[in-house]
Amino acid sequence: MKTNILPAYTFNRLKMNYAEINYEPADIKKAAISEDSFIDLKTAEDVAFDIEVAEGEERSVIMNLASEGTLNLSSKINIKAGASLKLVQVYGGDSKGRVINSIEGDVDKEGKIHIVQLLPGRGDCYTDCRIELKGDKSSAYIDMAYLTKGGQKHDSNYVVNHRGKETVSDIRTDGALKDGAEKTMRQTIDFKTGASGSTGKENEKVLLLGEDIVNKSIPLILCTEEDVQGNHGAAIGSLNEEMLFYLESRGISKEEGERLMTYANFGRLLPFIDDEKYREKIEELLAEEL
């Protein structure tokens, strides 16, 4: 299947315009969100959720993506006026597993979506996330931390379309690549005509920790509206000499420093997990992986 399609193509030889996955979905199972809003997905399956957030409602949903084999997950999200949704997804399955995750979200006036994703190096990950900021003053925040290692593939595509006036987006992805990891990160903020007064930010930090890594990044800003502010920043590299000196002067080895920096990407996101027991479980998972 073809996924993670870049909204504006670039040079074909770079192979960044889309991802090709050797997988064809079978019958997609429609599933409902449980009452406690905790979804534990432990089976290899093709499954789809509809998440409706009613006007003025605040909602938080946690998805534990922990299947063996391929989990093909799709979420259609509709956030009504003044409502907000926090969606936490943890890719915590088998280290040889694979998650294909698609999110499509519409956000009405003054609505808010916050997507928090933790990918602690458990198998191949494909994420295709498209948010439509339809209503005025609607907002989208995407926070993602990852570790990709040992020949794993990690391919993401985040797109936020600003349609309403005074809309806000902030995409932040921080991660580390180790030994044979291959990562492609696509980020797009698209200011459509009429989205006056809107602001959008993209930020990417990548820590390169091992040999034979492949880091591909393509952060797009598309714009047909004058009265907007869009910014992108990316920093890709290993720990620099100054940082290493600082750590070593405090008795912290290079390896421990790298581990701390990798953990910090996840640590920033842990407070967004409201369920205390689940958060502890994720902390254990991180301790094990890092």
């Binding site: 504006a8 193509y9 670039t10 040079f11 074909n12 770079l14 960044m16 315009n17 690549l177 200011f191 005509t193 006056s196 990548v206 390169l208 920790l209 091992g210 040999e211 034979d212 890594i213 492949v214 880091n215 591909k216 990044s217 393509i218 952060p219 797009l220 800003i221 598309l222 714009c223 047909t224 509206e225 004058e226 009265d227 907007v228 502010q229 869009g230 910014n231 992108h232 920043g233 990316a234 920093a235 890709i236 590299g237 290993s238 620099n240």
Partner: protein, 468 residues
Amino acid sequence: MEEKTYVEDIDRSLYDFRNEDEDAYKLDEGLTKEIVLQISKEKNDPDWMRELRLKSLDIYNSLEMPDWGPSIEGLDMDHIVTYVRKNTKMAGDWDSVPDEIKDTFEKLGIPEAERKSLAGVGAQYDSELVYHNIREDVAKQGVIYTDLESAVHGEYADMIQEHFMHLVPPTDHKFAALHGAVWSGGSFVYVPKGVKVEIPLQSYFRLNAKGAGQFEHTLIIVDEGADLHFIEGCSAPKYNVANLHAGCVELFVAKNARLRYSTIENWSKNMYNLNTKRAIIEEGGKMEWVSGSFGSHVSYLYPMTILKGDNSKMEFTGITFAGKGQNLDTGAKVVHMGKNTSSYMNTRSISKGGGISTFRSSVEVKKEAVDSKVSVSCSSLMLDSISRSDTIPAMDIRTPRADVGHEAQIGKISDDEVFYLMSRGMTEEDAKALIVSGFADNVSKELPLEYAIEMNNLIKLEMKGSIG
């Protein structure tokens, strides 16, 4: 109601005059094997060049149009004349150039620039060079600056065969193949070891004929420890049919050499500018690109630098101004292969009046390019909401021992900056004019004074209207 601050389109009247081409020799429209062989015959090509042309034609026919950039549907190769020659031979002094052509270049200020500030000039009119000259003192240093056709046949024939379309092979893309098939004109420069050319050389390309293509080839070799600044200018009058520019620039920068390649591109708004430029840099060498893109209906232009040698460097400074009816897709590409290489891209783009400006780049850092550094910075200014500005930067990093930074901004003229200038006594109109002029400063400060003035004249940032 607030009237928008008005930034004028670039004034092209200086470039928009045209000459009749009744006495010109033209081949038929379109692209066929017969036409390619006819061009080859006109040029008296050696066998290897004729074979390269025919092979390129086959490649052209086998490749698809690009599916990722601006639309080039309006370009119909069946209606493009690939070779047009005025009834004149190349001259070494302006008095020997026919009046009509001399007058064209006088209006463009080329002979005057040559007298004042250039070490040599090449002037191409449609498909052929009409003038080529190098200052005697520069020639005495061993610097070669000649038309490429002479070089193909003369004492540098082996050097040309060794380098021609090796850096940009015809297989690179469809319009590189087209270039390989029908190329005509262009310059060859060789700067010997250790020679520093103190003042620039310039080639100017003028496309006068309606519905024609220009396919000049520029080949520059800067030998070990040498230094050169080469300036390229281009313009054309506007017609109501498509014209095509598919030139090719191949630059070879040897160990510890430096080459600065400056371009002020001001093609007319019916031009499809599908140009290919590439440089390969050896150990300790440095490549500097200064690029201003103001003209054309559609542009695909991404000068590429291959940092092959250890400690080699690249800087790219560019500005693109897209006005009404223009879709300018510009940027740069760099490939880091050597150790401890560095690249720096700094670009600005302005979109107005429905113009589309796209900054597109690629940065590749190969596994072997350890301790390399990359910095990319691009800023875009939107002057209204009927225009479009896109930023499409790609990075492919394959060594952990690299330091890559990228930043991009898009927005309108900052209210804070306007307020600051107004608080110091400027009118709002003047403040905005100053900000927009300053936005283009990254390029103008890199150009020789005469060219910076020309560029500022080109932009002609005139503001009018009551504000707020």
